[in-house]
Symmetry: C2
Subunit: 562 residues, 2 copies
């Protein structure tokens, strides 16, 4: 049975391994929701499926169910989804997970890889369903739900799978060793066992759960560790679907489905702490706030802790060859998914003297005007705004915008107020277009925090060198995931490279064009460096996978193993 | 300059990489002190060199020297060596190390590998000198000093170097990536920078410093992290020589020698804590007691901590095909370097009903007699005892033997008293042949501690299944580095494999013959699993190296990097 699966997915595995090693562009999944590819029926059926879920009990058939839980509210309708999920007994779930591990760990790396690719393929088959689930929990647009939380997330999962495969197969599972000692030749048969660490708790964020959960799930399953998936209280549905699908693949292949379980909770009764106290939980993968991520890093000593959190992303604008293209790219990035991505820029740093361009100097005031105009043009039409911004996952983001609007005069001046746009399909949607503040007070501590809301500060620095050094310092001290520099001067760019590398901040130069600044390509772009407070783990490198299992070795006298 | 070095050492690197991947027997270094290989002069010159060091100031020419320190005493003469070393200002040393890192990190993986192999070759050139230094600080025999702390330690260093090279070159340092977005093709040039973590504090043990220090040094230098080597207060000389040699190689190749420095201290004024407090110290590699290793693991949260400590190594004897061979192998292992190795067995578990052999059942009492006789025969001759046992590094080991002798009646009965043997070359040597106790009281907590001294307990269990499960439990709960099983029954061995793999304990089956039970082969045998309290790191695997650096990525629009 496994051999069929291995054969079926061998090509995908090999292509993923190759892409990881060349860092060239590749995707293992369909990146477009076009009906030319999928037909008309699949999308319609998915919408019907989603509607039919509302107000029902989500069936998972997993052990330890002691009640029902779930209070998700759609950012598009502001109505409760009315779906409930198993409330679990942590003891029972962990015992079941530990038991499942005992069989699963016997699988060869090839069998594990085939099984995990099969899982990704099954998830791919539910992309339209997942899109609706993601929209109505995270607030993503249809397109982002389909691509970003679909193919891109699956690619990130496949990438982690490939890395785990690489680490697992780094040494053979057996070897013959012989060495002369005096006149005697000692011959030993050696067997190497890949031993998982234990239960892995995967804690997901509210706005983009799949993109980080899939890599963590794949890294853990590949290395033999059972996964307990702990979604955000308002992001349960897409993760419950994931657990449902993966459990089915396990069962269909004769394996214990408890290699993955769901631990849904509510804000009032959080469940993660119960897992953190347990010694059979060996791994924590966390995506979310820097505050909780840092707490985990500093306080959970008996487990492997992998974090991907957030930071203060800066753009340093020294000069620009393609000024309009740059302004458009920045405006797009500020609007995209209402800035609810860990790669969204926040601090736009310019020198007081302005920006040198092909057509002469652009003053800071002019840049502010141009940025406002570019944003306005992108969100003027309700349909366009809807496709670009989606909805705000949480009311807290609106609160942030209100507070920052009140602080505008303290920082400098308001360039662009945030405002709701009218969503053509969902009149009740929680929406906001970007708030922009010109911060002439460049020393305000407000600028050194991440504000989880569509807000950007145009920070006026005394000169571009200070812009650069302050952006680098912010990255090193406050964290950063995506940093950008615009300059026509090679020397400035080289200097930027040196400073950002020192600060442990990945960065991009002079990006414009159709690729969003936020875009990170699986197999090629490393997400989070692990060198600054934005997280300690990276998607994906050998460090992400190679500690998740250990090797136990047995030595046998030649021929004595039977 | 670097290219010459790269060419010179390319073959060694490739062979090491191959050995790591096949796990076959290979050594990059000369494993014999024979004068047929080295001639007569080199050994004599080394002895003269050592004698000339006594009572002098060891010159290191490293920054931050604020005095002199050093109170080493030879286990062979019980006389102070009278050698002193720099006492350092930790601030100055760390600043110098951090500065050295800035240039070193620019080196390519190939240049780093070549430089590090050159270092190992220079150390190889001083093997005879190192042998005397190791004898008179650790108490090792001449042969063990030359091979175990020589070629074997260098191989372990080269192995870690190869793993680091593999991790560093896992992704290219640049790539071109292109992807269509609508009708536009985005082309990005990507550069990947390998960024070191910071200063690595390498804390060495007293009895076998090189074998663990070389891998840690190589893993850290390869990944760009400057090393501060903190030897045991009675094991400074071999590590000072190492630092001296490596600093010379760095200087000779135009590099800042402060990539490695020595931090000598005394028991009264320990210096490690000063480094642990510093934020620029990012890595700790520790070899030594389980108590301090566990403390580091549980309390040093802002650094990567790698530990290799100790445990309660068991031998489960169910039955034996080659009973005399087994008894001889165990006796040899108990005598070897007076049981001062982390791979020395301590608990020999047998069932009350005795041991089934080809010639019938051997009772527990008979086994005790046979073991005593085997030990006696190995140490009867002073010269033979000297070549096998060497000297006890610390008086504390004698104290342990005294205490345990007093406990013998509480445990069961004394089988063999420890006793000093008369060393033919060093009449004052601190020596002891193994103490053996027949522990019929198999529940004593004494049996669940590691006793750092030549002592073995023949533990009488109710049956072999209990021997096995207790040995596995001890490994899992108290730690174990080398475990053995003797059985003629495949089923028992398979059961043992399952239980030891579950306990995270590497083990060997039915070993006898000329290879010492303690022997661990670089490139093939994994040392420490990281799954039990005997340490969290492994020599060597990808997990040992892949977190010691991080990758920072830069994306540039096609052709714009200059």
């Amino acid at each position: 049975m496994h051999q069929t699966l291995i054969d079926r997915h061998q090509n995908t595995l090999q292509q993923a391994l190759k892409a990881c090693s060349t860092r060239e562009c590749w995707s293992g999944f369909v990146e477009s929701p076009s009906s030319k590819i999928h037909g008309e029926e699949l999308p319609l059926a998915a919408k019907e499926w989603f509607d039919s879920q509302l107000g029902t009990a989500f069936q998972l058939d997993q052990p330890g169910e002691i009640g029902r839980i779930g209070v998700e509210v759609s950012p598009y309708t502001l109505e409760p989804l009315g779906i409930d999920y198993p409330k679990i007994d942590v003891d029972v779930v962990c015992q079941a997970a530990a038991l499942a591990m005992q069989d699963f760990r016997q699988l060869s790396p090839d069998a594990r890889a085939a099984l995990c690719i099969e899982m990704l393929r099954v998830l791919e088959g539910r992309l339209f369903e997942n899109t609706h689930a993601t929209m109505h929990t995270a607030g993503q647009t249809f397109m982002m739900g389909f691509v970003g939380s679909g193919a891109n997330a699956l690619d990130r999962g496949l990438e982690a799978l490939a890395y785990a495969y690489k680490a697992l197969t780094d040494i053979p599972d057996r070897a013959r060793w012989s060495k002369g000692f005096g006149k005697t030749e000692m011959v030993l048969d050696k067997r190497y066992h890949y031993v998982p660490r234990g239960i892995a708790l995967v804690i997901c964020c509210a706005t983009f759960p799949a993109w980080n959960a899939y890599p963590a799930i794949m890294a853990n399953l590949m290395t033999g560790n059972p996964v307990v998936l702990k979604p955000h209280p308002n992001g349960i549905l897409p993760m419950a679907m994931t657990v449902q699908s993966l459990r089915q693949v396990l069962s269909d292949n004769g394996l214990d489905p408890n290699m993955i379980t769901l631990a849904a909770d509510t804000r009032e009764q959080p469940i993660a702490g119960e897992f953190l106290k347990r010694s059979d939980v060996a791994i924590v993968d966390f995506t979310g706030s820097q505050r909780y991520g840092s707490w985990l890093e500093q306080n959970v000593h008996d487990k492997l802790v992998y974090t991907e959190t957030s930071g203060v992303n800066s753009i340093v604008i020294e000069s620009a060859d393609d000024y309009p293209g740059m302004v458009s790219a920045i405006a797009h990035s500020l609007c995209l998914f209402s800035a609810q991505m860990c790669t969204t820029p926040q601090n736009l740093r310019v020198a007081s003297e302005g920006i040198a361009t092909a057509d002469g100097k652009v003053s800071v005031a002019q840049f502010c005007d141009d940025l406002r105009a570019a944003i306005d043009s992108k969100v003027a039409d309700g349909r366009a705004a809807a496709n670009l911004c989606g909805a705000l996952q949480a009311q807290a983001s609106i609160d942030v915008l209100e507070r920052l609007t009140e602080s505008a005069s303290e920082l400098g001046e308001l360039v662009r107020p945030y405002q709701a746009y009218a969503h053509p399909d969902f009149p009740a949607a929680r929406t906001a277009t970007p708030l922009v503040i010109h911060a002439s007070n460049n020393q305000s501590p407000i600028l050194r925090e991440e504000h989880f809301a569509p807000v950007a500060f145009v920070i006026e620095d005394e000169n571009s060198e200070l812009s650069l050094s302050r952006a680098a310092a912010d990255a090193g001290e406050c964290g950063a995931i995506a940093t950008h520099v615009y300059s026509r001067h090679p020397e400035f760019l080289r200097n930027a490279e040196a400073q950002f590398v020192d600060a442990g901040a990945s960065f991009s130069c002079n990006l414009s064009g159709p690729m969003a600044l936020n875009y990170g390509a699986a197999y090629s772009d490393l997400h989070v460096t692990g060198l600054n407070p934005a997280g300690n783990a990276c998607l994906a490198d050998l460090g992400f996978v190679s500690q998740r299992f250990r090797i136990v070795q047995c030595r046998w006298l030649e021929g004595s193993y039977s």
